[in-house]
């Protein structure tokens, strides 16, 4: 899972970079185009999201707080994916909504849905692996205590 973790972390860092190198208002316009929140909320999200992506990406690559970061990444990707599915217009040629995943210019398409769906699946798998590993560590600690001795709090 190390490779998957680093890959996912790298994707988040790149996504943050594509948004932070341009005006945050472009990302705000991309979010607003989905028409799922009021404009002021889209502006707030455009301010905050790239930094959240950057922090998650760095933490995933570094392998720290894995349960927290993988859960946050999964939740974020689930929200993005749901919004994209809702906005997807397979036959339209007018007013196509940009994915906004890595800057503008990439309309929501079967390809972007497949890509982001795969990232969501990878993140969910990492999350489950992180919780499973933590559980095994806890069980391992319990097994290491000799029988009859109280387990220290």
């Amino acid at each position: 899972m190390t490779g998957g973790r680093v890959l996912l972390g790298g994707v988040f860092v790149y996504a943050a970079y594509t948004k932070l190198r341009t005006s945050f208002l472009l990302f705000a316009m991309a979010i607003d185009a989905y028409k799922v929140m009021p404009e002021w909320m889209a502006v707030g999200a455009a301010h905050v999201l790239p930094w959240v992506e950057l922090a998650l990406g760095v933490a995933l690559i570094a392998g720290i707080w894995l349960r927290l970061t993988s859960t946050a990444a999964t939740a974020l990707l689930a929200v993005f994916f749901t919004a994209m599915v809702h906005a997807y217009q397979p036959e339209a040629k007018e007013g196509l909504i940009s994915c906004g995943c890595f800057g503008l210019g990439e309309p929501i398409s079967g390809r972007t849905l497949t890509r982001d769906g795969a990232l969501l699946a990878l993140s969910a798998a990492l999350m489950m692996a992180a919780y499973y590993a933590a559980r095994r560590r806890r069980l391992g600690n319990v097994a290491a205590v000799p029988a009859g001795n109280p387990v220290a709090p």
Binding site: T22, S23, L25, L26, A28, M29, A30, D32, A33, E39, A42, V43, A92, K93, E94, G95, L96, I97, S98, L104, G105, P107
Partner: protein
């Protein structure tokens, strides 16, 4: 008698010759009207070429989102930015041929391009968007354009459209959009400070304003 007859005849001939000569001096042959000069290339820009921001819009006149963008953003921008010399807008035709509901897009682009060649772009651009619901349904592009042009101008536009003189301009703009990977309309590029960025087509004017103001403040 014979001399008198000849004399009368000679006098009559002299008079006739004099009248012909006088008529010729009084009536100059009318000069042929000068042929209409061939119009130059279409001018589909709004605003000063020295404006610090340039907005390039690839659009299709049949596209409802393009119409919304024109009415909700382009018109206010003309007042707020173009008139103040802060923004230059360039219209590029990208007719979505072969798409249902866009059967008359190319014809609209041809009429608008022809009008742009005689300096009537703005009027025809506005008319095509204002009456979109009408001509998209019944194909009455000619009537919509004729309603905003003088009889002389619509005659010139029709001649250019029917003779195919503006086809190449529309084809060139379509090819330009295709080369820049335009795949839907409207597609909007904003250039300022030497940098070109893509702006979402279904954007609210309030956000677009903030973006333009931010670019102007740089």
């Amino acid at each position: 008698m014979r001399i008198r007859t000849w004399g009368v005849l000679a006098a009559a001939l002299a008079l006739a010759a004099t009248a012909a000569g006088a008529g010729g001096r009084q009536t100059r042959p009318q000069a042929k009207p000068a042929a209409e000069a061939e119009p130059g290339p279409p001018v589909k820009t709004l605003g000063s070429p020295t404006a610090p921001i340039e907005m390039e819009i690839f659009s299709d006149y049949s596209c409802p989102v393009c119409r919304s963008f024109y009415l909700g953003a382009v018109r206010p921008m003309m007042e707020d930015y173009v008139a103040a010399g802060k923004l230059r807008i360039i219209h590029r035709d990208f007719p979505l041929t072969g798409v249902p509901g866009h059967e008359h897009s190319r014809q609209a682009a041809l009429y608008e391009t022809a009008a742009a060649r005689i300096g009537k772009f703005e009027e025809v651009d506005a008319a095509l968007y204002d009456k979109q619901a009408v001509w998209v349904r019944d194909g009455s592009v000619d009537a919509v354009v004729a309603a905003v042009l003088s009889p002389r101008d619509i005659k010139r536009v029709r001649e250019m459209v029917e003779s195919g003189k503006v086809d190449s301009y529309v084809d060139q703009e379509k090819a330009l959009g295709t080369a820049r990977r335009v795949n839907s309309t409207p597609t909007i590029y904003v250039t300022s400070h030497g940098r070109t960025e893509l702006v979402p087509g279904n954007v609210s004017y309030s956000l677009l304003r903030r973006y333009l103001d931010e670019q102007l403040q740089k």
